[in-house]
């Protein structure tokens, strides 16, 4: 065995040296950086995609497909977060952001040959903005206050809103606003899991699918309408992309390292070192929205007291969590939103780990340390429960580490797995789950409203949301702030409001931010030009495979 290892290591050295020599001799510097066309990228996915109705594109696997096959009205520059032209050449917005007029690019077609014109865009947005009961389409999360569309000319479309909707322009750039052909929109919501039925105008087209297992995309040869300011133009460089669903982590990584795949989605932080050591690339684009956090449900009397929530906030050591379970690709949170998100302010001084302070706060709130090392008050133990969230990286381990940290001050946190059904239903009951993990990605301040507003994701479980189990908790001040963010046409004022709400949420200790969640990928060394849109969904439009 020892001899074998020695031989393998020796061979590696010889090969590496020989490789360096030949490369230096044959290729002038930089020659291998010239993009080449052709080849099929093998992409190993952790989970199969579900419904590909574009507003359902938030689910990581769905976004990974939709981003290749659909185009958006606008393109959000992932570096500057500015909104740039794409299918829309230009646009005008009235001062109070209730009317948007878009001028579309000429000659854009869906892959079924039908034109992507004003009529098609109007129809797409009527469904995204209003839903369709008959076809069971839900309303898109990113569109607020939508009222109607008007076709002003073959390539001119106007949208009207019932209230100011300043987040709408950014909303036209997200995965969930991918434009699809009228034929696709004639199908019912529950038929859109079949990828072959999703007809977009994107650089790739669905060629074939084995349900739940494999998806093959082919480049569209006549594609010439990529985002106007991108360096790459024309058709995609790859000939195709093959998605293979490979649920098991170790198999995905092993297959990548063994050369059976080119890119894998979802590499766990503890595997990063090994993969990087072998010369592979790790990508961890930020999802730029609400950080990976622990959220309280104040309707539950155990966490209704601000002092208790503050105590738990200071008992949580996010530095230890990131250092123990994650890597430098998971920056510690310094506010409720990511440092790269629009309107972010640094609130790290409110988030310090301070066990003494935590204990003092619990004492003050009347929770005294009992005989079994548990805090008690009026004969009740301070025992809380949370469900793990499957899509978030190492969420169970994170919650378990938090439970250990809280145990130090006499608070017990039960971490439950549970099937999806129980999880969804019990998670809507603040009495059963006073604590919950939460995060959501979107590069616009509207994301804060999405997360906290009662009629949106409602993570705090306020009255007036999906849950019928909430008795009385509602925070009108928070909701007013959220309303204001989603309807403030003045950009500067809107960012100021965004700062205000971050401060308020932390002052109320509604949320314990842990880290800024990236979507983590690994790729073979010869895969070049992988890009990510503003919330970390991959784009393979300019990707190419270099010769090894």
């Amino acid at each position: 065995m020892k001899g074998f290892q020695g031989f393998a290591a020796g061979r590696g050295v010889v090969f590496a040296a020989a490789g360096a020599l030949t490369l230096a001799a044959v290729f002038p510097a930089g020659a291998q950086d010239k993009p080449v066309q052709g080849g099929t990228l093998v992409y190993l996915e952790q989970q199969a995609h579900t419904t590909l109705y574009p507003p359902a594109g938030g689910f990581y696997p769905n976004g990974g497909v939709l981003n290749q096959i659909t185009d958006k009205l606008t393109y959000q520059n992932p570096q500057t977060l500015e909104i740039e032209p794409w299918i829309a050449k230009s646009w005008t917005i009235n001062p109070d952001a209730t009317e948007y007029i878009f001028e579309l690019r000429e000659g854009v077609t869906f892959s079924d040959g039908t034109p992507l014109d004003a009529a098609a865009v109007a129809k797409n947005y009527d469904i995204f903005g209003l839903g369709n009961r008959e076809l069971k389409y839900p309303v898109s999360e990113v569109i607020n206050n939508y009222s109607r569309s008007e076709v002003l000319g073959p390539l001119t479309v106007k949208f009207t809103f019932s209230k100011p909707s300043p987040g709408f322009l950014q909303g036209t750039s997200v995965i969930g606003s991918g434009l699809v052909s009228l034929k696709t929109l004639e199908l019912a919501f529950d038929q859109l899991g079949d990828a072959t039925k999703i007809i977009g105008s994107g650089p790739f087209v669905v060629a074939s699918e084995v349900l739940g297992r494999e998806l093959v995309l082919a480049a569209r040869k006549d594609y010439k309408w990529g985002p106007a300011k991108l360096a790459h133009q024309g058709r995609a460089l790859l000939d195709g992309i093959k998605y293979v669903v490979t649920p098991e982590d170790s198999v995905r990584i092993g297959a990548l390292v063994a050369g059976q795949g080119h890119v894998i989605r979802q590499i766990q932080a503890y595997d990063e070192k090994q993969v990087k050591g072998d010369g592979f690339q790790i990508y961890a684009p930020s999802t730029r929205g609400i950080n990976n956090s622990i959220v309280f449900r104040p309707d539950n009397p155990l966490v209704a007291d601000l002092r208790v929530r503050k105590a738990l906030l200071h008992a949580t050591n996010s530095k230890e969590i990131v250092e123990t379970l994650f890597s430098e690709n998971y920056p510690r949170a310094t506010s409720i939103i990511a440092a790269t998100a629009a309107g972010y302010i640094d609130l790290s001084d409110k988030l310090g780990f301070d066990r003494g302070k935590a204990e003092a706060l619990l004492d003050e709130a009347g929770w005294k340390l009992g005989s079994r090392g548990l805090r008690q008050k009026d004969g009740r133990d301070l025992i809380l429960t949370a469900f793990e969230s499957l899509p978030q990286p190492q969420n169970k381990e994170t919650l378990q580490l938090v439970a250990q940290q809280w145990q130090q001050i006499g608070v017990k946190l039960n971490v439950l797995a549970g099937d999806a059904g129980t999880r969804v239903i019990d998670n809507l009951d603040p009495q059963k789950t006073p604590v919950s993990p939460g995060m959501v990605g979107r590069a616009d301040p509207d994301v804060i409203k999405s997360q906290f507003y009662p009629t949106n994701r409602n993570v705090l479980l306020q009255k007036g949301g999906t849950s019928t189990k909430v008795k009385e908790f509602v925070d009108p001040k928070l909701n007013d702030l959220l309303d204001a963010i989603s309807a403030e046409p003045d950009a500067k004022r809107r960012l100021a409001l965004t700062g205000e709400v971050q401060l308020y949420v932390l002052d109320q200790a509604y949320v314990i931010p842990i880290f800024e969640e990236p979507q983590a990928f690994a790729a073979a060394p010869n895969i070049k030009g992988i890009a990510f849109e503003a919330v970390g969904r991959p784009s393979f439009y300019a990707t190419w495979i270099a010769k090894k």
Binding site: V42, E248, V251, D419
Partner: protein
């Protein structure tokens, strides 16, 4: 002759009754779950829907109608071969089944075959081994096999044969290549109980008087094993083989996940965790139909195979 056909008619009627009962029971049990797939999908905060929107969608699926009406509706659909839509996956259930049923059948039957071969090999080897310690060692193999977690074995086989030795790819393998490692993974735990029973049966048959006779006639041990013992020992083993088929499907869940194969196991697992009622109902009914069909065929074959049965019926009619 008419007695036989009335027997066939009665058995067919019974089979249909069992099928109807399975359909009804599964429908009621799935209704009794605390939530349904529609709620789980649309109440998920990721959809960001309001209670009114959820209620509307719920109504648009007809899920707010009285149970009896839903029952008749679903029954009518099943009778005309419509299994509805998988709410989670967003495809017709029949498409899901068409994609998942064949690979599972292939995996399960090949694994069973491999397990049977492995069991016979182990049993014969343990009996032929020359030394007592070697026999003991081989006889303890089934205990080892049954305690290996399928999950771990699958990953080990992939690591060794696919990633280290590069013999079979796991990603985009050929149609038969795809099955080599999963079949090996599944066959090992299934072979264990088969081998154990086979070993015990061989030992039992070897104590029978007719073996002593054969031995006295000068037959070699291998000859006796092959010509006299094998047939007698295999029959009882086959009886429990049927029971093992269920275990095979359970093992397929893990194997399908590790190897990223589509299959009924994976489909069932996902449907259970999202309470995707339409998918579950179809799986239950199809499994019941398969079970009923096999039993019906066997029952209908009785009078053909054993004429006494047919006469008995005739006398009583």
């Amino acid at each position: 002759m008419s007695s036989v056909s009335s027997y066939a008619l009665r058995r067919t009627g019974q089979a249909l009754l069992v099928l109807a009962a399975a359909f009804t029971a599964s429908f009621l049990l799935l209704q009794a779950l605390p939530a349904d797939a529609i709620l789980i999908k649309f109440m998920d905060p990721e959809m960001g829907l309001s209670p009114t929107q959820i209620a509307e969608i719920h109504a648009s699926y007809g899920a707010d109608q009285p149970i009896l009406q839903q029952y008749l509706h679903t029954l009518g659909n099943f009778l005309t071969g419509q299994f509805g839509y998988s709410i989670q996956a967003g495809v017709p259930v029949s498409d899901s089944l068409a994609a998942n049923l064949p690979p599972t059948l292939k995996l399960a039957s090949l694994s069973f075959l491999a397990a049977a071969l492995l069991a016979v090999l182990l049993a014969f080897l343990s009996n032929l081994a020359g030394f007592a310690w070697l026999r003991a060692l081989i006889q303890s193999v089934p205990a080892l096999f049954i305690s290996i977690p399928t999950f771990w074995l699958g990953i080990m086989l992939i690591q060794l044969f696919s990633f280290q030795l590069k013999l079979v790819p796991v990603i985009s393998p050929g149609p038969w290549e795809r099955l080599i490692l999963p079949v090996a993974t599944l066959a090992v735990p299934i072979s264990a109980p088969l081998a154990q029973i086979l070993m015990r049966n061989i030992d039992e048959v070897l104590t029978q008087p007719f073996i002593a006779v054969a031995r006295a006639k000068g037959a070699s041990h291998l000859y006796i094993l092959w010509h006299h013992v094998a047939r007698n020992a295999v029959l009882p083993t086959l009886t429990i083989a049927g029971v093992l088929f269920g275990e095979l499907l359970a093992g397929a869940v893990v194997t399908e996940a590790v190897f990223g194969l589509g299959g009924l196991g994976n489909l069932t697992y996902q449907a259970v965790s999202t309470q995707d009622t339409a998918v579950l109902q179809a799986i239950v009914v199809i499994s019941a139909a398969a079970f009923v069909a096999i039993n019906l065929i066997v029952d209908l074959l009785y009078p053909v195979l054993d004429p006494r049965l047919g006469r008995g019926l005739g006398a009583s009619a």
